[in-house]
């Protein structure tokens, strides 16, 4: 035992002596030093494809900004860390703030991570521009008035839009509904919002089945069997990850796609995997805030889609746009604040002030941050079609767009108070 302790102290003593050297002392910030932006992108598990998508949008934005001379002459430098569990991601955030001394952090998708990061961003006094992860709990309870955190659109926007479209297209054409949604806050929030809106619209729907498969599930046999037995007129699902095509394939195999109506609020997250062979025409399908084949897409969006397809052989999804916007919003805010500061690099407080209400051109059109730090954007949903020769997966036609002013609760109002206040 004595030997062990001796060796332990030798080892820890050496390690601590090494660790005690200050590695984080930076020289005084020169005006031309790069702007460091910390990026938190998921790289493993069910979140990985979406995290990668967000990262692509961020990198494209940074490349373009740097090619055009940077922000006020300072190049953008990305310090990329991984989003994983809340505990590990909080540690990554601290590393970005304390060790890398980044000017701001962009990223994070998971709601649990989002809830943990919000308070940490406030404590670390570091601007955090979230890609996603905006739950009601986060907005109403955890951080009602954040200073440093800028959040994405609400979780329920997609369910609200899909519910409005459901009412518009299918009111009176269905009676029984079933929900199959991933078992976490996003799934629960969306299903609850859908049911509340059905009630508000006076559609006397009867819930015949509520299923909560684990996010990222790879087998839906039991769930599909339950749905086949319940025989709902309409199935509502807000799956968005790699589990979506698995579910659709099994649902198709069980004959559910023949006559059942489908509302897939967020399936556009994995749109390329929704093949025509098992995804029916006539379903409502949501693409969140970016539809890669929008006829009225801007030149910027077309350029991004082309770049994405050439480089990755894939058509991009919404997370790229969330990531892209956070970077251009930061740039726009810095430039806006600099104008007020006589073209000098503005203080962090001035940048925060400029971010509030900032509007910038995203890939899906103009976006902005509200004064309460919530993102405003345009959402894309539509009716699935097989009539597209270029692809082996479904697309939507017609494409419907709604802005967050229509489908996101306003600042300071509870979601269900807002829905109940609608004039129908």
């Amino acid at each position: 035992m004595r030997t062990t302790r001796r060796q332990f102290f030798t080892l820890t003593g050496g390690a601590l002596a090494a660790a005690s050297l200050r590695l984080d002392v930076a020289p005084a910030l020169a005006q031309a030093a790069p702007v460091k932006l910390g990026i938190l992108a998921a790289k493993a598990g069910v979140l990985a494809p979406v995290g990668e998508s967000g990262l692509r949008g961020v990198q494209w934005a940074a490349e373009r900004i740097n090619a055009a001379g940077g922000i006020l002459g300072r190049k953008l430098e990305l310090v990329i860390e991984e989003e994983s569990s809340p505990k590990d991601t909080v540690e990554r955030f601290r590393k970005l703030a304390l060790h890398d001394k980044v000017d701001a952090v962009s990223g994070a998708i998971s709601t649990g991570v989002g809830l943990a990061l919000g308070p940490v961003a406030e404590e670390m006094k570091t601007i955090w521009l979230s890609w996603d992860a905006t739950t009601q709990k986060g907005v109403e309870e955890t951080m009602p008035k954040p200073k440093y955190s800028f959040r994405s659109t609400d979780n329920e926007c997609e369910a609200v839009m899909a519910s409005i479209l459901t009412g518009r297209h299918w009111k009176g054409k269905f009676k029984t509904v079933a929900g199959i949604n991933p078992d976490y806050s996003y799934g629960r929030d969306n299903w609850a919002a859908f049911l509340a809106i059905m009630k508000k619209y006076g559609m006397d729907v009867q819930v015949v089945s509520e299923l909560w498969p684990k996010l990222g599930a790879t087998d839906f046999t039991a769930h599909v069997a339950a749905l086949a037995q319940a025989k709902p007129d309409l199935i509502f699902s807000c799956h968005w990850a790699g589990d979506t095509p698995i579910f659709m394939k099994q649902a198709h195999g069980a004959g559910l796609t023949k006559s059942t109506k489908f509302v897939l609020t967020t399936g556009g997250g994995v749109h390329e995997s929704l093949k025509k062979e098992f995804t029916p025409e006539g379903a409502i399908l949501g693409y969140n805030t970016f539809y890669f084949e929008h006829a009225r897409a801007s030149a910027l969006a077309r350029e991004f889609v082309r770049w994405h397809q050439e480089k990755f052989k894939e058509w991009p999804n919404y997370e790229s746009d969330h990531g892209y916007f956070t970077i251009v919003a930061y740039k726009t805010a810095v430039e806006r604040a600099a104008r007020a500061a006589g073209s000098k690099w503005p203080s962090q407080d001035a940048i925060i002030q400029a971010l509030e209400g900032v509007e910038a051109e995203s890939l899906s059109g103009p976006r902005r941050y509200r004064e309460d730090h919530i993102m405003e954007a345009t959402f894309f949903q539509g009716i699935t079609t097989h009539r597209n020769k270029a692809y082996d997966f479904v697309t939507i036609d017609p494409v419907e767009t709604m802005t967050t002013r229509q489908i996101q609760k306003p600042s300071g109002v509870g979601l269900y108070d807002w829905i109940n206040g609608w004039k129908v």
């Binding site: 062990t4 820890t12 003593g13 590695l23 984080d24 809340p86 955890t142 806050s185």
Partner: protein
Amino acid sequence: MIARVAGAAAMLALLLAPVLASPYQLTLLLPAFAYAIALLGLNLLFGTTGLLSFGHALFVALGAYTAAWLTTRAGVLALEAIVLAAAALAAVIALPVGLLCVRYVKISFGMLTLAFGMLFYSFLYKFYLVTGGDEGIRVLRPRLLGQTFAGLDKVGFLTGPFYYYALALLVLAALVMRRIVRSPFGLSLRAIRENPDKAAFVGVSVRRYRFYAFMIAAVFGAVGGALLAVPTGLADPQLAYWTHSGNLVFMLLLGGFHHFLGPVVGAVVFIFLQDAVMSLTAYWRFVFGALLAVVVIFFPGGLLGLLARERPA
């Protein structure tokens, strides 16, 4: 002599770290201290008694959720009360779980602990009203010995008062554990590990002693969990997930489970290694998997085993 000097130097370095090290390096030491406490307990079960638990994260998560529930929902901010409550709750939960698990050994024990761990994970995930579901519950900044340290921001609090608090708790935990493993009770546990039949023959109540070891390990796990949750500021279900239990076992193997301070070394090295490798590559899990294989195959005694000239009892 060299050991005493090195030990004194290491303690001095730990005591002076808040002055010498960067705030980020200090924030990395905090989870290392918390894990070290949990691992001291786990090693009583594994290294000393010979029972490998694959569900020890259950108790770490229990401690974290105790901190979350008390600070957020009950308004209890005194960390002393939180740590005591976590320890007490762990004992209450470990009572039935331990009674069941210690009826089995080897793989059956491992699988049962894994099952209970995942059961608790499902409970945390599904019971939204009590546990906050997937989003978990926030852990508010606690008071230490009645002091709020209101003048310090969170980083100042974590790298100052909380650092010393966690270090003191680790030293206390290590002293208590050393007393336990050196006691006749500890000797009996080692006898059970080496040969339970012989131990029983000489009058050791094998199942009862295994149960006591399980209870002590659970209490240490929860105390570590309560400390772990404060820097994160959130208790979430992933703390109870089986991969977290796997990480705990990895830390033990890395440090060397034959050695009393192996868990402490394992925790510190794991945290700093993970920090470095995570920043270098997205494939850090692969690197850690390979490292685990290397440790198990070539260095089964862990880091301290590498340096040891003799295998301690």
